[in-house]
């Protein structure tokens, strides 16, 4: 923890007020509503609703499809978070080495982030549709029977790739910022101590990058868990079968498309609990290993 701090009492509250207000209105209030809704059985328009207690939860948790979805989510989220972070870190490290053209690469790396999800779905269709996709052709030529429409593994690979692709830019940007804050003197000391570049990366740079990495870990976990249903929706629609139906896609699909309100709300409550647990875990256990300057 910080050695010195400002002693003010009121000021921190003033500083926190906007965020707290917005959080309460736009997060806690809706979350409370979702919680209420999860105990109801309701038609979409809310014309009739019956209190059913925990029935929705019971139902969701006993649904084998839901458990399947938990598994899909675990594989998908872990892969996306891991890949998106490691590829971005790798590229950020490369970019740091470059002196001329750094800005150029940096700009290009951010492009995919600028692609609205609405367009991204279309792009992936055009590129990876097994028969006419521009990039599916080369795969075919290489003898890979590329068919994410029917092959569950291919579909999983495809959405992992798409979700990773979308997030690399984000991670890249923050890794670049994080790398710049590492004192060069420490790398010098490591060089003197005989560390190879690779070694000093893993023993000095990486540990000192931990605040950024930790931030990205939290953000990427959340991203992989939540913000990816748009991509799944556009790219595989949860299929083939239920091979790519993640928890949040299911929440979205059941609530938004199928309009099964109570169950969808129950699912989002479960999801919230999972993420609260995950976030708490990350802050309590993983952050212990983070070294701040």
């Amino acid at each position: 923890m910080r050695r010195t701090v400002f002693p003010h009492r009121l000021l921190p509250w003033l500083l926190l007020a906007p965020q707290l207000a917005i959080t309460l209105i736009f997060f806690y209030w809706p979350a409370a509503q979702a919680f209420r809704q999860s105990m109801l059985k309701e038609d979409p328009f809310g014309l009739s609703s019956t209190f059913v207690g925990l029935a929705n939860f019971r139902k969701v948790l006993s649904d084998p499809n839901y458990l399947n979805s938990v598994q899909v989510t675990a594989v998908f989220s872990a892969s996306v978070a891991f890949l998106a972070m490691s590829i971005a870190l790798f590229l950020a490290v490369q970019a740091e080495k470059i002196i001329r053209g750094k800005g150029f690469y940096r700009t290009l790396m951010i492009w995919p982030y600028a692609v609205a999800p609405a367009i991204a779905g279309m792009l992936w269709l055009f590129m990876f549709n097994p028969s006419f996709g521009t990039l599916a052709r080369p795969l075919r030529v290489m003898g890979i029977n590329w068919n994410p429409l029917l092959n569950a593994d291919h579909a999983m690979i495809l959405i992992i790739a798409a979700a990773t692709w979308k997030q690399i830019s984000y991670n890249f940007l923050f890794f670049v910022a994080g790398l710049q804050a590492i004192p060069r003197s420490l790398l010098e000391a490591a060089a003197i101590d005989g560390a190879s570049r690779r070694h000093s990366f893993w023993t000095i740079t990486f540990p000192l990058l931990a605040p950024t990495t930790f931030f990205l870990l939290v953000v990427n976990t959340v991203y992989a868990l939540f913000d990816t249903f748009g991509i799944i929706h556009a790219v595989t629609g949860g299929g083939p079968g239920k091979a790519t139906e993640t928890l949040v896609y299911k929440v979205y699909n059941d609530g938004f498309v199928n309009l099964i309100m109570g169950e969808s709300a129950a699912q989002s409550v479960i999801l919230m609990v999972i993420v609260i647990a995950l976030t708490a875990f990350q802050f309590r256990f993983i952050e212990r290993r983070v070294h701040y300057g």
Binding site: S131, N151, A152, G239, P240, G241, N253
Partner: protein, 411 residues
Amino acid sequence: ATEISWWHAMTGANAEVVTKIASDFNASQSEYELKPVFKGTYPETLNAGIAAFRAGQAPDIMQVFDVGTGVMMGAKGAIKPVAEVLKEGGQTFDKSQYLAGIVGYYSTPEGEMLSFPYNSSSPILYYNKDIFAKAGLDVDNPPKTWAEVWAAARKIKESGAATCGYTSTWLTWIHTENFAAWNNVSWATNENGLAGVPELKIDGPLFVKHFHELADLAKEGVFVYGGRTSEAKQNFTSGECGILTESSGGLGDIVKSGMNYGIGQLPYDETAAGAPQNTTPGGASLWVMGGKSDEVYKGVAAFFAYLSKTEVQQFLHEQSGYLPVTMAAYEATKASGFYEKNPAREVPILQMSGKPPTENSKGVRAPNLPQLRDIQNEEYEKMLAGQQDAATALKNAAERGNAAIRDLTGG
């Protein structure tokens, strides 16, 4: 002027048509001002409407896709039947003026029209004439039955004219719901759900036979699966597949792709008694939301009356590719010689209104049709991937679907 809000999900050229119709309507009178608002895809529009209704801000008119019909009908207090609106609004409403296949779909079993059909479509068959020629198939006579389609498709593949013989969009809508209606077999009990809570019958022998054949074709690589909705259209425009079954609404893209295409009726199963019967519409209809002022309802009624006008219907039909909803518009279009130039436009109308609908062909309805389609798609995909046979796939689809329905209706 009283403002009337109209939330819709029309994109592309169809969005232009909406804008044009609205401004023409506004220009035609001064009492009401119709304000069309794009609210995203069909599910997004429906959700926006629901959220708005719950917040007391529902629009006056809302476009809801075909599969949302069940939900809207269930929301008794939230909507106002169109028939009522028209009557109270002082508009004469003569049901017989409308295409029976379409109006039937959006009415109660008792015949009260609940929503106003805006954009209706019907699945038809497209084929690539160049590929047909190359494969030595009759370029002017597309296959009429599924058996003929299978044969032609195999020939295309075998002859090397194309890598894929046949593909189709919407397996649920075309190969299940319309398959049932067109071949006059039951999709579900209770008049396919129009008369009450349905119990799915999609694991019937005719369905099994059909999907069995489709699965075989897929195994041979003759049939290529393109996705759950319209994605397969691209497999056709790219020249990869020789035959496509797809909504009549898909014509625009096919025309624009510049390919040498032909069209035919949706194929039927020649072993089915009475086939071909009639197809059922896809697309969407306009629902009037409840709890609005009389003034608004009057305006809505006036708009629907305007929309029913022959020249408006004719415009809608010719510009958007959707079906006209009135007989008069159809006749007028025919008289104008439009169909000679665009035979593809007439086929869906003929399919839909060739015979008076039976219990099996008025359409399908379930409170959770999107979910049922999801279930079907999942099972079909497993089947096409070779993980299960057609009988199992359909049995699973029916069972899981029925369970979902029971769940919802508390049955």
